[in-house]
């Protein structure tokens, strides 16, 4: 192993570009995951037994769909979705082509985490808001979301970290970013240094994200 080369690789334009790509994929997929997963999680929670919109049929349907998506391994889901991805963003490779499978895999996962943290909200508090004449909308925005904020942030952290590993996996079908680099150099050309560097950057990224998430959770915990 060539240590000098390892150090030089840190400023290698291709590695820098790959890191940027990974960050873009991560940022966009996280955004869409939250935009889809949060409302989905809220609806699932509200439809569950004893809650505001309690609806057994609706709950069973949504819950089953979420379970199906969650039980398919990401690598397989990604390949299954190639046509869908092409339809949505026009291509199935590169940064753009990776985002739809990432979101479709992560949103149901995140929705489940949202549902779990909403379940942690004290039922008495929801009831108190109802007794004060709060509408279902007000209960969602002013009670459920603020009260479960630490849990939601923890959920987002877990989801983002999962998305980091998914972005790396997407390299298999030409997804772009660090995963792509690791596969092209490390796996196909036995270039150990590049592989190690990409793994190193991914580890650092995960550490930073987790630390940030933990700090935010702490900051918003009032219990």
């Amino acid at each position: 192993m060539d240590w000098m080369r390892m150090i030089q690789l840190f400023i290698d334009p291709e590695i820098i570009q790959a890191t940027k790509d990974t960050l873009v994929m991560l940022g966009l997929s996280t955004l869409f995951t939250i935009v889809i997963g949060l409302p989905l999680g809220i609806i699932v929670f509200l439809c569950s037994e004893g809650q505001l919109l309690s609806n057994k049929l609706m709950y069973t349907i949504l819950s089953t769909v979420i379970n199906i998506f969650r039980s398919i391994p990401f690598v397989i889901l990604m390949i299954m979705l190639i046509e869908v991805t092409r339809f949505i963003v026009g291509t199935s490779i590169g940064v753009r082509g990776t985002i739809p499978p990432l979101v479709i895999a992560a949103a149901p996962f995140f929705a489940r985490l949202v549902e779990t943290s909403l379940r942690e909200v004290d039922k008495g508090v929801i009831e108190a808001a109802q007794a004060m004449g709060a509408s279902p909308n007000q209960i969602i925005w002013r009670v459920l979301l603020p009260e479960s904020r630490p849990g939601l942030i923890a959920g987002i952290t877990i989801t983002v970290v999962t998305l980091v590993s998914y972005t790396a996996m997407s390299g298999i079908i030409g997804g772009g970013g660090l995963g792509d680099l690791a596969i092209r150099y490390g796996y196909q050309r036995f270039d150990t240094e590049v592989m190690l560097i990409t793994v190193f950057i991914i580890i650092v990224l995960v550490q930073i994200l987790q630390m940030l998430g933990d700090r935010l959770v702490l900051r918003f915990t009032r219990k």
Partner: protein, 333 residues
């Protein structure tokens, strides 16, 4: 003010019907403090939750301030609920918001202008004595303080009615006392109608005007508090009272036959008059006091004595006559 007509509530638990409430009829007047007492599972919470329709009655009508709540669509019900404050055993404050924000919460739901919220919350925090804690979070307060926040929040929208479900059950006796005094004070200032759920007779004695006793989903007795205390009719009522006064020990004495026993009840100012002394002077009878208590219900003092009369039947009857002349209430045991 609050009229319940034939209110019933049944739950289906594992395909079996549970009658939590059956055919409740209650009429709570404006400005009174009304107690609802009973043992665990009697249906007290279900009843009070039916009053603001947190629980929808299976049948029957709930009318508050002349509005039939059971007939309202949900948007109208939401606006009616703003006139009904509620406090809870476990306070149910928003843990993510400060004390100030908790009290401001119902006002914000109502879209009250910021400036007015500020003033109103300050006023309420002062009323419950928590001005200094406005920027703390609920987890930083004691149980009694949390309940004060609960009360301030319930009063924010200037309700006509305050519902309290076991509001003092999670508190120690001293804190309970201070919360009850606060409620009494608020009731006097704001002329609220207050409904208090409890399983402790002391709470009823301390602040209620009238009380309904519940057992197995039914109201078994409904009276002025003083009448319930001095002349309980239903077994459950007697049991609840006995627990507070320690009357159960008397039963062994009472079961001994051929003793001439009298239960004498005083109410109001006569409690402090030397009636017994006068009676002895008049009749020359000899007696001994087996048990006695003097207490207060809100402002009304009342007392109860159990005495044993020594002597023949004639002197026993003379004593009874003399006591009746003094207008005290008597019961031969």
């Amino acid at each position: 003010m609050i009229n319940l007509t034939n209110v019933s509530k049944e739950y289906i638990v594992v395909k079996k019907k549970v009658n939590a409430l059956s055919e409740i009829n209650l009429c709570i007047k404006k400005g009174e403090i009304f107690g609802i007492i009973g043992y665990s599972g009697a249906g007290k919470s279900t009843l009070v939750r039916c009053m603001n329709l947190l629980e929808k009655p299976s049948t029957g009508q709930v009318e508050i301030g002349g509005v039939d709540l059971t007939a309202l669509p949900s948007a109208k019900l939401q606006s009616e609920r703003k006139k009904i404050g509620m406090i809870f055993q476990h306070f149910n404050l928003l843990s993510s918001k400060t004390i100030f924000e908790n009290v401001a919460f119902p006002l914000r739901l109502n879209k009250v202008p910021k400036k007015m919220i500020q003033n109103r919350v300050d006023e309420l925090l002062q009323l419950v004595g928590l001005e200094d804690h406005r920027n703390k979070y609920p987890s930083q307060l004691s149980g009694g303080q949390k309940q004060r926040v609960g009360i301030a929040r319930a009063l924010a929208n200037q309700p006509d009615v305050l519902l309290c479900d076991e509001a003092t059950s999670a508190l120690d006796p001293q804190t309970t006392q201070s919360i009850l005094e606060l409620l009494l004070d608020i009731q006097r200032k704001l002329k609220l109608t207050i409904v208090i759920i409890t399983h402790e007779m002391q709470v009823v004695q301390a602040i209620c005007d009238r009380v309904a006793v519940m057992d197995m989903g039914k109201v078994v007795e409904e009276e002025k508090v003083i009448d319930i205390m001095l002349q309980p009719k239903h077994e459950i009522t007697k049991k609840l009272i006995a627990e507070t006064t320690g009357d159960d020990k008397m039963n062994t004495i009472l079961q001994q036959a051929d003793r001439k026993l009298l239960k004498i009840s005083f109410r109001g100012e006569q409690t402090y008059e030397p009636i017994l002394f006068d009676v002895i002077k008049e009749t020359g009878v000899s007696l001994s006091i087996l048990q006695g208590s003097i207490s207060r219900l809100k402002e009304t003092p009342y007392g109860q004595l159990i005495v044993e009369i020594f002597g023949d039947q004639a002197s026993f009857e003379r004593t009874i006559q003399s006591l009746q002349d003094h207008h005290v209430q008597l019961e031969v045991l």
